[in-house]
C-alpha cells in the first residue's frame, strides 16, 4: 500500500475506542474539576485499568506494542478532550526507563525536556504529580524517584508543572545524555497530535457557537468576515495532522538517524527527527490560531471563564510553550535540514 491518507484499521479502531472513552470519562466538568493542578487521578486510574500507560512498551516487556502511528491517534483524542493526564510524558519516560511499576502505571513517570541546572529540572511537565522524573543531568540520562509535590505554580494551562531535584530521591543512571533526544522526538510527535486534537475541538466549539449566536438579526456565522476567519483553520489543522502522522510513519518505518531522506533541492523529507520538530511547530501554530479566532468569535463571552473555549485557548499556549520558543525550534530544524556553515 502506498500514499494513503485514510487511517489504518488499527488507527480507526483506536480513534473510536479513545474517542468514546474520553467523551464518557472526561467531559469538560472533569477538565474544570482538575484545575488548578491539572491532574485527574480517577481518569488516570481508568487508563491504567485499560493498560494504556504500558501500551507503548514492547509486548515482550509486558507492554501493548503500540506503534507511534497508533499512539498519535490516542494523543489526538487526549488533546480534543483536554484530558488532564500526563500520558504522553509517561509514554516517553517509560520508553527510557521501562521499570515494571512505571510500565504498569502504578508509578507515574515524566520527562524533563531540558537538562538540569544546579541539580534542578525547571518546570517539568507532569512534574507536580509524577513519581519518577527522567532527564539529563550533566552527561548522563538519569531517572530520579521522589515524592511529587502535588501542587503546581499557577500557570497558563493549569498544567501540573513543577521543579524537580536531580539529587533528592532514588537516582538511577540510564545511560549517556544523548539517549534523550530521540525520545524527545517522540514527545514532539505526540504533543503535536495532542495540539491537533485541541485545535480541531476548538474549531468545532467556535463553529457551533457562531451557528447559534445572533447579532444584527443574523447568525454570527453568516457573516463572511467570520466565515473566512474560520475557513483558514482546516488547512492549518489538517496540515499539522498529516505532518504528525508522517513523522510517526517515518519513525515506525525506521527512517531514523540518517536512514530517511533529507533532500532540500527536491523538497523531499522522510527523516523522523526534522518531521517531528516540524509537526510540533505546525501544530503549535494551528492550535494558537484556532483558539485565537474561536475565542474572539465568542465576543465578550470568550473572555469569561464560563465558556469552554478559554480552556482550549490556555492549553494551546501552555502545551506548545513548555518546550520553549518556537523560533528556537525552527533554528533547530534549520540545523537538521541544512548543515551549519
Amino acid at each position: 500500500m502506498a500514499l494513503d491518507f485514510a487511517p489504518s484499521d488499527d488507527q480507526d479502531a483506536i480513534a473510536e475506542v479513545f474517542g468514546a472513552f474520553f467523551a464518557n470519562e472526561c467531559p469538560v466538568e472533569v477538565v474544570r474539576g482538575a484545575e488548578p493542578l491539572g491532574y485527574a487521578p480517577e481518569l488516570w486510574a481508568k487508563l491504567r485499568g485499560m493498560d494504556v500507560p504500558s501500551m507503548a512498551a514492547a509486548e515482550a516487556a509486558g507492554g501493548g506494542g503500540a506503534t507511534l502511528s497508533d499512539r498519535v491517534v490516542v494523543a489526538e483524542a487526549i488533546g480534543a478532550a483536554a484530558a488532564p493526564v500526563p500520558l504522553i510524558e509517561h509514554w516517553v519516560a517509560s520508553s527510557l526507563h521501562p521499570d515494571a511499576a512505571v510500565l504498569a502505571g502504578d508509578l507515574i513517570a515524566t520527562v524533563a525536556l531540558h537538562p538540569a541546572r544546579a541539580d534542578t529540572w525547571r518546570l517539568v511537565p507532569g512534574g507536580a504529580i509524577a513519581d519518577v522524573v527522567v532527564g539529563v543531568d550533566g552527561d548522563e540520562l538519569v531517572a530520579v524517584r521522589s515524592a511529587p509535590p502535588m501542587v503546581a505554580p499557577q500557570n497558563h494551562a493549569a498544567a501540573p508543572l513543577s521543579d524537580r531535584s536531580t539529587r533528592e530521591g532514588d537516582r538511577v543512571v540510564l545511560g549517556p545524555a544523548t539517549l534523550l533526544e530521540p525520545a524527545l522526538d517522540q514527545w514532539r510527535t505526540l504533543t503535536a497530535s495532542a495540539l491537533v486534537g485541541l485545535a480541531d475541538r476548538a474549531m468545532t466549539i467556535g463553529v457551533d457557537y457562531v451557528l447559534e449566536r445572533e447579532q444584527f438579526g443574523r447568525l454570527v456565522g453568516s457573516f463572511q468576515s467570520i466565515q473566512h476567519g474560520l475557513a483558514d483553520l482546516p488547512p492549518l489543522i489538517d496540515g499539522a495532522r498529516f505532518l504528525s502522522h508522517k513523522a510517526a510513519w517515518a519513525h515506525d518505518e525506521g527512517l531514523i538517524d540518517g536512514a530517511g531522506v533529507i533532500d532540500m533541492d527536491d523538497g523531499n523529507i522522510t527523516e523522523f527527527a526534522p518531521l517531528a520538530a516540524m509537526a510540533l511547530v505546525q501544530a503549535s501554530e494551528a492550535a494558537t490560531v484556532s483558539t485565537d479566532r474561536c475565542l474572539h468569535y465568542h465576543g465578550g463571552y470568550g473572555f469569561s471563564l464560563e465558556y469552554d473555549i478559554q480552556l482550549y485557548f490556555r492549553r494551546a499556549r501552555g502545551w506548545a510553550g513548555i518546550l520553549g520558543d518556537p523560533a528556537r525550534e525552527r533554528l533547530r530544524i534549520a540545523d537538521l535540514l541544512w548543515v551549519q556553515p
Binding site: 491518507f5 485514510a6 453568516s222 457573516f223 517515518a250 532540500m264 527536491d266
Partner: protein, 380 residues
C-alpha cells in the same frame, strides 16, 4: 496513513524527471521568461510520445497521482509547463463529454503534445462571477451555424494555441446557471483577434476578441444550454492542477543566495528558511491528500480549496520575506548584474501574485471551505 509513492509512480517520477533534465536547461527556462510563453515544445512532445500526457489526464477512473507528479516535477524544476497543464485539463473534459470527432481531433492533438489550447472564460467585466459573462452565441437560421461575439480576458497561451475552450451564453435570462454553452474552436477561425496583456511577472497573457466567429454544432462541447455542467467539470480539473509546489524552488533559490552572499549562518535567515520548509511540507501533504481523494474515486472539492489557499498564501508570504531578507540585491530582476540568486527571488515575488487569483480566488475558496466543509450558511 502511508506517505510513500507506489512503486509504479516512483518509476514514473524518475522518467518524468529524466525528460525534464533532457529538454529543459537554463536557456530554455530563460527563453520562456523572455518571451512570456510558458511552454517548452520539445518537452511537451516527448511527454506526449511517451504516453505520459494521456496517463496524466484528469477524470473519473484516471490516475490523479500521475497528473500531480507531472506538474509537481515541472514546478520543482522550474520547467515551462503552464501550456501542458492547460492541455491536460481540456483533454480530460473532452474525454468525459466530448464527441468522437472532438476526441479524434482536439484531444488527440493535445495529448500528443503537438497542439495547445487556451481558456476563454473570464471577461473584461468579471471572472469570479462567471455566470455574469456576456459573450453570445446565436444561431444563424439560414446556415444553422453558431455566430459567436464577445471578448475574453486572460486567455493565456492564445497566441500559440491551436484551440480555444470558450464559454458563451446561448439563451438569455432563465436560471443563473442555465443557458450557457461551451465551444471548442480552432484559433484560426475567422473573426478571432488577439491582444497581448503584459503582466507584472514575466508571463504574457492575452485578451481575445470574437467578432461573428462562425462554428458548427461539431464545436459544441457537451449539451447546448447545459454548458454549466461542462464548466463545473472543467473548473474542478483546473483546481486539481493548481500549483502548490513553488516553495521548494523558492527555498532552493534563497539558499543559493544565502550561500553566495555568505549569510547562510545568520539565524534570522535560518529560522525563516525552516518555516518555509514546514509550509512546503504542509502544502505538499494537503495537495497529496487532494490527489489521493480523487484517486479513491471521490470528487475533491474542499480538499483542493484548502491546499490552494494555504500554498498560494504561503508562497506570497515567503517570497516577499525572501526579497526583503536578500536586501537591495533582492530587488534586482532576472538578468540584472548582481541580482540575488540571479534575479529569481524578485521573480518569485512577481510570479506569486496571481496564485491567489487564478483557478479560483482565495475568497472563492474560503467561501467553499466555509460552506461545504464547516457547514456555515451561504453568505452571498
Amino acid at each position: 496513513m502511508e506517505f510513500r509513492l507506489p512503486d509504479e509512480h516512483e518509476a514514473l517520477r524518475i522518467e518524468i524527471r529524466a525528460m525534464i533534465d533532457e529538454y529543459v536547461d537554463d536557456e530554455v527556462i530563460e527563453e520562456s521568461h523572455r518571451t512570456g510563453t510558458n511552454h517548452c515544445a520539445p518537452l511537451a512532445r516527448a511527454l506526449g510520445d511517451a504516453g505520459i500526457l494521456a496517463k496524466a489526464m484528469p477524470g473519473a477512473g484516471k490516475d490523479p497521482l500521475a497528473m500531480w507528479l507531472l506538474s509537481s516535477e515541472a514546478e520543482k524544476a522550474g520547467a515551462p509547463f503552464d501550456s501542458v497543464g492547460m492541455s491536460l485539463v481540456i483533454a480530460g473534459v473532452l474525454d468525459a463529454v466530448g464527441t468522437d470527432h472532438q476526441k479524434q481531433t482536439t484531444q488527440a492533438g493535445l495529448l500528443s503534445g503537438e497542439e495547445l489550447v487556451c481558456f476563454g472564460l473570464t471577461e473584461p467585466q468579471g471572472g469570479s462571477d462567471l455566470p455574469a459573462i456576456t459573450t453570445k452565441a446565436t444561431r444563424d437560421e439560414e446556415t444553422g451555424e453558431w455566430v459567436i461575439s464577445g471578448a475574453k480576458m486572460w486567455t493565456t497561451m492564445a497566441h500559440v494555441s491551436d484551440w480555444v475552450f470558450l464559454l458563451a451564453r446561448t439563451e438569455g435570462g432563465g436560471s443563473r446557471h442555465g443557458g450557457f454553452t461551451v465551444f471548442i474552436l480552432p484559433m484560426d477561425s475567422p473573426g478571432i483577434t488577439i491582444d497581448p496583456i503584459w503582466t507584472v511577472s514575466t508571463e504574457r497573457s492575452n485578451a481575445t476578441f470574437y467578432d461573428d466567429v462562425r462554428a458548427g454544432d461539431d464545436a459544441v462541447v457537451g449539451v447546448v444550454n447545459e454548458g454549466w455542467a461542462v464548466m463545473s467539470l472543467m473548473l474542478g480539473f483546473e483546481r486539481g492542477m493548481a500549483s502548490t509546489g513553488y516553495l521548494t524552488p523558492l527555498l532552493r533559490r534563497f539558499h543559493r543566495w544565502a550561500v553566495e552572499s555568505g549569510e547562510i549562518g545568520d539565524p534570522l535567515h535560518r529560522e525563516r528558511m525552516a518555516q518555509v520548509a514546514i509550509d512546503a511540507q504542509v502544502s505538499e501533504l494537503l495537495t497529496q491528500r487532494t490527489v489521493w481523494t480523487a484517486a479513491t474515486g471521490r470528487a475533491p472539492g474542499t480538499e483542493g480549496s484548502m491546499a490552494k489557499v494555504f500554498a498560494s498564501e504561503a508562497y506570497q508570504r515567503h517570497a516577499r520575506w525572501a526579497q526583503a531578507a536578500a536586501g537591495p540585491e533582492g530587488l534586482l530582476g532576472l538578468g540584472a548584474d548582481g541580482a540575488a540568486a540571479g534575479g529569481w527571488i524578485d521573480y518569485d515575488v512577481r510570479h506569486s501574485i496571481p496564485m491567489t487569483l487564478q483557478g479560483g480566488t482565495t475568497e472563492i475558496n474560503r467561501n467553499n471551505i466555509a460552506e461545504r466543509h464547516l457547514g456555515l450558511p451561504r453568505s452571498r
